[in-house]
């Protein structure tokens, strides 16, 4: 047992932190959040050059990382910086599926992804699928020349910037069957693909994507027909580790800002941090963050264990990120008082992202129920 990060990961973390401190002030981030795509292409290129995208892929796919702890170390740092560039969409989700399912030709795309030249997005969720990774009603039918895809994909993260969409569609089975789901590579400009991008409340971008008789060649299919679910589940698992880790970074910032405020803001003649009621609540905040951090470590460390153990750890990390994230965001705002309610003060932006993480890939209740179901499977 060893709870220290390897030197490589420590270096990665320090490098990202330094880069963000020097190049990524919140005002700049908020401006890029209001741009057409919701992030900065220029910064993205710099991230690529620093090797940050490569850190999310293993050597076999042209990267130099890709393990659970690579994800957690990087996303915790990205969270601290409130980074809105499309690491999750392009590398973890889109890239993750290609790395798992792609043939050699398809995998060539990853080189471009890692270099930041090509952007991916995973068009998987649908208007009624909520958090269920197996609910796919979008249809792909086999034709003489390949596939025709129809359906509506919802809240596709960075779907409005992607060059290539990884689209999931059902080739067989019922609406909620794990079996019968395939993934396809669909260029964003393909005829029949209609993309409506929009900002999100936490400074990201997403899109509603309508696919109407989108004709694709046979080479668009990723992996064996109808067998994409395990890869989707694993990509979602990695996404949840990323999100939970990002949440840890955000929580650390919220806690530090609040501690700082409690020490400097005076009311009734003393720093408000002298009020015992706030002290005790801050002690809870501190403890709970450490619990959420431990859950993240567990999930990252168990990513390669058998499915049930892996998924239970992932659900734990995400459930704690959701529960503790809400506690931290709400307490940070409450203890700051009015100032935290303003756009000009940094805290609110961190808080918005922290809360919204709970609405991505499963909220607290989803993961509680899922954990319980997995427990019964295991028993």
């Amino acid at each position: 047992m060893d709870f220290n990060h390897s030197d490589d990961r420590t270096m990665l973390k320090d490098m990202v932190s330094r880069f963000l401190a020097d190049n990524y002030p919140l005002a700049v981030r908020n401006r890029s959040a209001e741009s057409t795509e919701g992030f900065s292409r220029d910064i993205w290129q710099q991230f690529a050059e620093l090797g940050l995208i490569g850190a999310l892929f293993d050597e076999q796919h042209g990267g130099f990382g890709g393990a659970g702890f690579d994800i957690s170390v990087l996303f915790e740092a990205l969270g601290r910086g409130l980074v809105n560039e499309p690491f999750l969409a392009s590398a973890i989700l889109g890239g993750g599926l290609i790395a798992q399912l792609g043939n050699d030709v398809q995998k060539d795309i990853l080189t471009e992804v890692i270099s930041g030249k090509t952007l991916l997005a995973l068009a998987h969720g649908e208007p009624e699928s909520r958090f269920d990774p197996a609910q796919v009603t979008c249809r792909a039918s086999q034709t003489d020349s390949g596939w025709t895809i129809d359906g509506h994909k919802a809240v596709v993260l960075n779907g409005d910037s992607a060059d290539i969409l990884v689209v999931t569609a059902r080739v067989s089975g019922g609406d909620w069957d794990e079996d019968g789901i395939s993934a396809f590579l669909v260029p964003a400009g393909q005829s029949g693909v209609e993309i409506r991008g929009y900002p999100t409340i936490d400074g990201l971008h997403a899109a509603e994507i309508h696919l109407s008789s989108v004709e694709m060649g046979g080479d668009a299919l990723l992996g064996p027909i109808g067998k994409a679910f395990p890869a989707i589940e694993l990509a979602v698992a990695r996404a949840n580790i990323a999100l939970a880790s990002e949440a840890i970074g955000l929580m650390d910032v919220c806690r530090d800002m609040t501690l700082d405020y409690l020490q400097t803001r005076k009311q009734f003649g003393v720093p408000i941090g002298k009020f015992q009621a706030l002290q005790h609540r801050m002690a809870t905040v501190l403890m709970e963050i450490e619990q959420a951090r431990s859950a993240c470590i567990n999930a990252a460390g168990r990513l390669d264990l058998p499915r049930v153990q892996r998924e239970q750890a992932v659900s734990t990390a995400k459930a704690l990120a959701g529960r503790v994230g809400r506690l931290v965001a709400e307490e940070a705002i409450q203890m700051h008082g009015g100032i935290a309610m303003t756009w000009e003060f940094d805290l609110g932006h961190y808080a918005k992202r922290l809360i919204m993480i709970d609405n991505q890939f499963g909220d607290v209740d989803y993961h509680l129920a899922r954990f319980a179901e997995l427990s019964r499977t295991a028993a």
Binding site: D132, G337, Q360
Partner: protein
């Protein structure tokens, strides 16, 4: 003990319903129910309609143009208005300044200002908080120095809600630095068009403009605009804080939110079945519904209690804390009910005249914004921490 409305109360409720049915503009109700942004004109419209009916000043005595309703009637009126989708009236003149003027204002002030509140000539805003004086209001620094027939006011107020629409502001200002901090405060009425006043918007974390900073730079205010006695403003401010209890718990609005959340829960799906049938969601919803049902009774019980006057402070505090807790729990569960569709945020979609199709279900657009915006309700008007302090004093701790 009788939880049922009396025949008189039932008749009153029917009268209110009939009035709303006939007079509340459908377009306005739709805006309110759809969570759209209201503009000044919307608020003015409803204000005028209520005034025409004589129902604008629920809590004022009849002699000043008020309704003379008792607590239960006021609550019935508020509940029905909420249920119908009426906008809330702007409280600064009607519910905050007016009770102070009625109790402590000069005859002249009452005669001048009360009618102008009713007919909409004056839009009042509140100048209490300052950057350095939030929960600790008594530490305020905005100064008013007597100069002949005027006070000269210098300083800054903040969190001035809807100040961008106001032509008048009532302020707590420091007229003396002797004694306890509370003792040197006065209550001044100031015309916003007086030279030296600047209003600067504060944009909230989710992008809305509700509150403002107001700067005073050598602003000359006639001495006649002092309410009551100099240096006794703290008493008037405290009276105001504890006097206004009707609707502090927001029961009517919370009931509407609950109904809306149930509607959402019926339309959101988990594996094709309504979210509201999901056992965990159903339990969270039940928890809030139970608490709200109890709250409605707590509210009426405390408001109509014979010793309510004596315990006004702690009672307001209880109602405020629990009311905000329920509202925030509703906002949070509504956010969760949406799943990923809580994220999209197209601000223009909340304005009238936005014609594009909604992103996701039609109820989604305002939800997250409301969640974040309503973090304020446990902070302003005396934070919930301040309220807990008031309760603990009352308990003898």
């Amino acid at each position: 003990m009788d939880l049922n409305f009396s025949d008189d109360e039932l008749a009153f409720r029917d009268e209110v319903r009939a009035f709303l049915d006939k007079n509340l503009p459908a377009a306005l109700a739709a805006k309110v129910k759809g969570g759209k942004r209201l503009v000044k004109e919307d608020m003015d419209t409803w204000h005028a309609i209520l005034n025409r009916q004589g129902w604008l000043a629920e809590s004022w005595p009849v002699e000043f143009g008020g309704t003379g309703w008792n607590a239960v009637q006021q609550q019935i009126f508020e509940d029905e208005c909420c249920a119908a989708g009426a906008p809330r009236t702007v409280p600064f003149g009607l519910k905050m300044l007016a009770p102070v003027l009625i109790k402590y204002g000069s005859e002249e002030q009452k005669r001048t200002y009360l009618p102008r509140i009713l007919d909409g000539s004056d839009w009042w805003c509140q100048g209490y908080s300052e950057p350095g004086a939030g929960s600790d209001l008594a530490s305020l620094k905005t100064k008013a120095i007597r100069d002949g027939d005027h006070y000269v006011v210098n300083g800054q107020k903040t969190w001035t809600t809807l100040g961008q629409y106001a032509n008048k502001i009532f302020c707590l200002v420091r007229t003396s630095t002797e004694g306890k901090p509370q003792e040197g405060i006065s209550f001044l009425l100031i015309d916003m068009e007086t030279p030296g006043i600047t209003v600067r918007p504060i944009i909230l974390l989710e992008g809305t403009h509700e509150v403002n900073e107001v700067f005073f730079d050598d602003v000359r205010v006639p001495v006649a605009n002092l309410v009551g006695e100099e240096n006794r403003g703290w008493t008037y401010a405290k009276y105001l804080l504890t006097h206004e209890r009707t609707n502090i718990a927001n029961v009517g609005a919370n009931k509407v939110s609950l109904a809306h959340l149930k509607h959402i829960g019926q339309h959101q799906k988990i594996r094709g079945r309504p979210l509201i049938e999901d056992p965990l969601f159903a339990a969270r919803l039940a928890e809030i519904e139970m608490d709200l049902d109890a709250m409605a009774t707590t509210n009426l019980r405390l408001l109509s209690s014979p010793d309510s006057a004596a315990n006004a402070g702690p009672m307001s505090s209880m109602l405020k804390i629990k009311g905000t807790e329920i509202r925030q729990a509703l906002n949070d569960l509504t956010r969760r009910a949406l799943g990923p569709y809580a994220m999209p945020f197209v601000s223009e979609a909340l304005d009238t005249g936005y014609n594009e199709a909604p992103i996701g279900p039609d109820y989604a657009a305002p939800v997250s914004q409301e969640y974040f915006n309503n973090r304020k309700i446990s902070i302003y008007g005396g934070s919930n921490e301040i309220q807990r302090g008031i309760i603990s004093k009352m308990m003898g701790l």
